[in-house]
Amino acid sequence: MQPSSTVGINRRALLSGVAVTSVLIVINLKPKTIFTKIVEQDRWILKEDDLL
């Protein structure tokens, strides 16, 4: 029982790892798609796009 139980834990750990990695990828990607960089110029607080 002991070895198969260990395998089971490893599988669960592997699956958890995949899930966590997926979440991290989503978190990492999301800001890149919606993030607006805020900058300061001449005392104004602006979006970076304002200066284009």
Partner: protein, 480 residues
């Protein structure tokens, strides 16, 4: 009943259960609450029914530290007290203002906001207020908040007839309480001067000091010097941890999407940080105000914006359909001051009033945490406006470059005198306990904003009235 001299009062044979010193929002609220429970009280005012220069000059004092108002105009000495020049702004302290916040030294009340909530309905009734609307999220960091501009209640005018008709409240005008006399941890008498010359005493089983955020400290400090037994047995915090709300114009803003938040009829709108944003940034509470400006100011602002961001300015001009009158706004700021031992009321060693009582000295300075709250708060608010496509904010030069606080054309502060007899479970850091009772005294209580442990950003009157209602209820149910 209203008496105009101590002789009239003495001759009436009135026998009070409580002597309340001060007829402003705090003192009058306690008196009215007691009267509703059929408990007789005497309500003392040093001034008369109306303003007089002579009475007002008793409030002279000295300010040491940052620029501040002359003390003789910062509060009023006649029936109704400082409610007589109150502007009417109302909101209670937020729940998080009562919490201990590790980044703000000496923060944390011994009570939570829950403790005053049962008294908010009656406070609203006393002040003639509508309900305060819930905060509305504007961004992750900033909420729109409801700061009510009410028709200000002048307590002397509004409640005068009730006082005249009352058989349970004896108002005694022209009666200056110079000091309290203590014996065996109890107040035995209040020494008074009536009509500028007649000395006497007012005696009651219990006493409430409600003379305002400077005079409460002054009266207790002087009483401690005069009385054989101490009036405040553990005086380390007496007069200390004094606070104000700094108030400045800090910038301007082009607002092109004002529909994103609720506005008053005049276009004003108020905003405050979320508790999480304050914690993450390590700043105190504040409120920002968007105030619409004139067309000429809008033109200048847009011209300045075009110099920095020409493409965006062109887009803005088109979006406004060439009517730019609504774009220009001023940004005003009011914020919390940290309770610091160094900021305090002291008794002058040189100057005395007509009765020989030392005049007050206010030692008051803003510190690094106030500056950080200002600068980081503005950046937080400016980011929120930009991220949510509401507008663009420009900091004033002095804020951006870290110059001294300006004096010209500025409010400076809110005329909100807080602390001095603050609430704390520890007598080393406070004068009154959670029931507004002076530590170590059996029959002495304090009412008013001098008991505030921290200041929040909210104008204090509504919290003062709610706490006074709570003190009245405590006296009725537990102490009398």
């Amino acid at each position: 009943m209203i008496f105009r001299s101590i002789e009239e009062y003495d001759n009436s044979g009135f026998s009070p259960k409580v002597a309340i010193i001060g007829t402003g929002p705090a003192g009058m609220t306690v008196a009215r609450r007691l009267a509703k429970a059929k408990i007789p009280c005497v309500l003392l005012d040093a001034g008369d029914e109306d303003y007089s220069d002579r009475s007002q000059k008793v409030y002279d004092g000295k300010v040491i530290g940052d620029p501040y108002f002359d003390l003789d105009i910062a509060r009023l000495r006649y029936l109704g007290g400082t409610s007589n020049h109150w502007a009417g702004w109302c909101r209670t302290l937020d729940a998080h203002d009562f919490e201990q916040r590790e980044w703000i030294p000496n923060s944390g009340w011994p009570i939570k906001r829950d403790a005053i909530e049962p008294f908010l309905d009656s406070a609203r009734e006393i002040l003639g207020l509508r309900n305060v609307d819930d905060d509305v999220k504007m961004s992750n960091d900033i909420n729109w908040i409801d700061l009510i501009r009410s028709d200000p209640v002048r307590f002397g005018e509004k409640y005068k007839q009730e006082l005249v008709d009352s058989e349970l409240i004896a108002v005694v005008l022209n009666t200056y309480v110079t000091d309290l006399v203590a014996k065996n941890n109890q107040i035995s008498a209040a020494n008074i001067i009536s009509n500028w010359s007649t000395k006497g005493q007012v005696i009651a089983p219990k006493y409430v000091v409600a003379t305002g955020g400077i005079e409460n400290s002054r009266l207790l400090l002087w009483s401690n010097e005069r009385s054989q037994d101490p009036v405040v047995p553990e005086p380390k915090a007496l007069g200390r941890y004094w606070m104000e709300h700094p108030e400045y114009t800090v910038g301007d803003a082009i607002i092109y999407n004002p529909e994103a938040y609720k506005r008053a009829n005049d276009g004003w709108a108020f905003f405050a940080p979320t508790p999480t944003a304050m914690k993450e940034t390590g700043i105190m509470n504040f409120h920002a105000v968007i105030i619409p400006q004139s067309l000429s100011q809008a033109k200048q602002l847009l011209a300045d914006f075009a110099c920095t961001a020409p493409t965006a300015a062109e887009w803005l001009f088109k979006k406004a359909e060439k009517d730019i009158s609504c774009l220009g706004n001023r940004i005003d700021w009011a914020w919390e001051q940290s309770p610091k031992f160094e900021n305090h009321i002291a008794l002058s060693t040189k100057d005395k009033d007509f009765a020989g009582i030392p005049r007050p000295e206010l030692h008051w300075r803003k510190g690094e945490l106030e500056r950080k709250t200002l600068v980081e708060g503005i950046r937080m608010f400016g980011r929120a406006l930009a991220e949510k496509n509401i507008g663009r904010l420009r900091m004033d030069d002095w804020v951006h470059n870290g110059y001294d606080y300006p004096i010209e054309d500025q409010e400076i502060a809110g005329y909100h005198h807080m602390g001095g007899t603050r609430m704390s479970t520890d007598p080393r850091t406070g004068v009154v306990d959670e029931n507004c009772q002076v530590h170590g005294m059996q029959n002495l209580y304090v009412a008013g904003s001098s008991i505030f442990t921290t200041s929040g950003y909210a104008n204090p009157t509504m919290t003062i009235v709610a706490l006074a209602e709570r003190l009245g209820e405590h006296l009725i149910t537990k102490a009398i």
